[in-house]
């Protein structure tokens, strides 16, 4: 027998309790990882490879205020700018659906492969998209969800624009970070809704990362003190400006995480205290046989650590396996595009488990340290 076998036999002496303890730690840590990943996905949205060169230009007053069409030519002339496309949110509901389940944007179709190079589609589909002003391309996730095929009609009713439109699916793209959107011709939007050439935003592609700061500054300056002042920002900053609206959700999720960890701590501490209390007289016998305080501490700590560790293995390992092997996008119907349990989140959950093992062993260790052998043995009779 080794000390490790002795510790393992003690930890598993009440198999049902050990299993329930491990399970409670596992479930709680699984929940913790899930909440942390969800929070991360909500607050730090995934980024396209090409995002580093993209700039979003919107009206300084609000995103709902459109920008005049004349701005495009001015932006195109700025040094370091490679391409500029209007990008307007249509906000249409599909068919008889009550809510909008995928977003639609009108843009310059000729710039799709330049500005959004990550979105890949077969060349003949892209050509068909360019050739027909009523055509659109649909993201793979949305196409799969609704079983769309090339040639299908897509009737959309917007809450922003007065006239419903009908698009024809010319292509299905994939490879962008969010393959849910529908993209169609800005010209068609202008004509169908008689917008007068305005755009919701301008999406700009810079020539290089080094050009980005200068281009951002130049765009903002170009429209300063005009009737349509703009705010130009990187795609990342633009996304994060939406995230700030999640403030309360973030607080709520953080509160739930804290409650989960605290409850877990109470459950583990209680389990360890019960396990040690049951064995008080045995620990007194061990002391009588010559085991020192620090050796008994080590036994308790190892047992507590072992239970928390096994719980972490099941809970954190299970979460990692699930979220890396299963398509969360399909599982959540596209609510989460990615659900990435990052090394930082896994590390944090393992750290919580380790802390749990240590903290849960403190109270029993103090009780054992205070226990005199004689008093411990008195519990025998």
């Amino acid at each position: 027998m080794t000390l490790a076998t002795f510790i393992a036999k003690n930890a598993l002496r009440n198999k049902r309790r050990a299993a329930l303890s491990i399970l409670s730690v596992a479930v709680s840590l699984f929940l913790l990882v899930t909440l942390l990943v969800a929070l991360r996905e909500l607050t730090v949205p995934p980024e396209d490879i090409g995002a580093a060169l993209r700039i979003v230009v919107r009206n300084k007053i609000s995103i709902a205020t459109p920008l005049p069409g004349r701005q495009r030519a001015i932006i195109e002339k700025i040094k370091g700018v490679e391409a500029v496309s209007p990008f307007s949110f249509f906000g249409g509901k599909y068919g008889a659906e009550e809510n909008m389940t995928f977003a639609q944007f009108a843009m310059d179709p000729h710039l799709l492969t330049n500005i959004f190079g990550e979105a890949k589609l077969p060349m003949e589909q892209y050509r068909a998209f360019l050739a027909d002003q009523r055509a659109c391309v649909v993201g793979q996730i949305t196409a799969d969800k609704y079983k769309f095929k090339i040639g299908d009609r897509l009737p959309l009713t917007s809450s922003f624009y007065p006239n419903p439109i009908e698009l024809k699916i010319a292509g299905i793209y994939a490879g962008s970070i969010d393959d849910r959107n529908v993209l169609f011709h800005h010209k068609f939007l202008e004509e169908a809704e008689n917008t007068g050439g305005v755009a919701g935003t301008w999406w700009v592609k810079a020539r290089s990362a080094e050009d980005m700061p200068r281009v951002l500054e130049a765009i903002n300056k170009a429209f300063a003190n005009t009737s349509s002042e703009v705010r130009a920002e990187t795609e990342r900053a633009f996304q994060l400006s939406f995230v700030s609206m999640w403030g309360n959700i973030k607080l709520l999720v953080n509160s739930i995480c804290t409650v989960v960890v605290f409850t877990l701590l109470l459950v583990s501490a209680s389990t360890m205290s019960m396990a040690i209390r049951e064995r008080f007289r045995e620990l007194a016998v061990l002391k009588a046989l010559g085991f020192r305080r620090h050796e008994l501490f080590a036994f308790i700590l190892a047992e507590s650590f072992g239970l928390a560790g096994l719980g972490a293995l099941v809970g954190v390992g299970g979460a990692w396996l699930l979220y890396t092997q299963v398509s969360i996008s399909k599982m959540t119907n596209g609510i989460f595009i990615t659900f990435d349990p990052t090394p930082r989140i896994i590390g944090l959950a393992l750290l919580v488990a380790a802390g749990l093992g240590i903290v849960a062993s403190i109270a029993p260790s103090i009780a054992v340290a205070r226990m005199s052998v004689v008093n411990g043995l008195k519990t025998l009779d």
Binding site: M1, T2, L3, F6, K9, N10, R13, R281, E282, V285, L286, K287, A288, L289, G290, F291, R292, R293, E295, S372, V373, V374, L377, L380, D381
Partner: protein, 228 residues
């Protein structure tokens, strides 16, 4: 020639504090115990015999006086040193056996050896020797619940002997046994004293059990009352 004294107790007292009341468990005890002696401590409940046993075994400390065992003043040792001293010099046999229920007889006996740094092979040899000594070599793989009370106590004796200590302390070792098992256990303790040269100190209520010893000391209200 008389055997040298292994235990020297001088003017030893033990006072427990129970709330605001002082309870005197032992008062001014002086006592010498020779090597290889089988000493029995007798007396009514609360007479202080177990307290005296605990102090000699180094699991309790006196309020005043001295207790030297094998030339070492136990009152001068710190808790960690005392634990190490117990592991090397004292074997315990308790009334309720106190075996660890999840460990086999072999593992229970091996337990004190985990602190000694002996190799696995050497530990196995010593455990087998101790189990053979108490006639339980064939029960080595049994859990305590698979043994009779007498067998459990014999495993406890094997555990007390496995480190080859000079002192064996037994606190009412036959209290939970039938008469046949009690005779067996007492016979083993007697043999340890007579044949193996161990000093055995046993607390008992039973005069028949005390008859196995070489000397009997009676305590009453924390004081030595008589010696037989």
């Amino acid at each position: 020639m008389a055997a040298p004294h292994i235990v020297n107790i001088r003017e030893l007292s033990k006072v427990y504090q129970q709330g605001e009341i002082d309870v005197t468990a032992l008062h001014n005890i002086s006592l010498d115990i020779a090597a290889s002696e089988f000493l029995t401590l007798m007396g009514p409940s609360g007479s202080g015999k177990s307290t005296l046993l605990h102090i000699i075994a180094g699991i309790d400390r006196p309020t005043s006086g001295s207790c030297r065992v094998q030339g070492i003043d136990l009152t001068q040792l710190g808790e960690s040193d005392l634990a190490g001293w117990r592991n090397q010099n004292v074997g315990f046999v308790f009334q309720t056996f106190n075996l660890i229920p999840v460990l086999t007889a072999f593992e229970n006996v091996e337990l004190p050896l985990l602190l000694t740094g002996l190799s696995g092979r050497r530990r196995r040899e010593q455990v087998n020797t101790a189990l053979e000594l108490v006639g339980l070599a064939d029960r080595a793989r049994h859990l305590p619940r698979q043994l009779s009370g007498g067998q459990e106590q014999r495993v406890a004796i094997a555990r007390a002997l496995v480190t080859d200590p000079g002192l064996v302390m037994a606190d009412e070792p036959t209290g939970n046994l039938d008469s046949h098992s009690a005779q067996e256990v007492l016979g083993i303790l007697q043999a340890l004293s007579q044949n193996a040269g161990k000093t055995v100190i046993m607390v008992t209520h039973d005069p028949k059990a005390a008859a196995f010893g070489t000397r009997s000391i009676h305590l009453e209200k924390g004081e030595l009352s008589r010696e037989t």
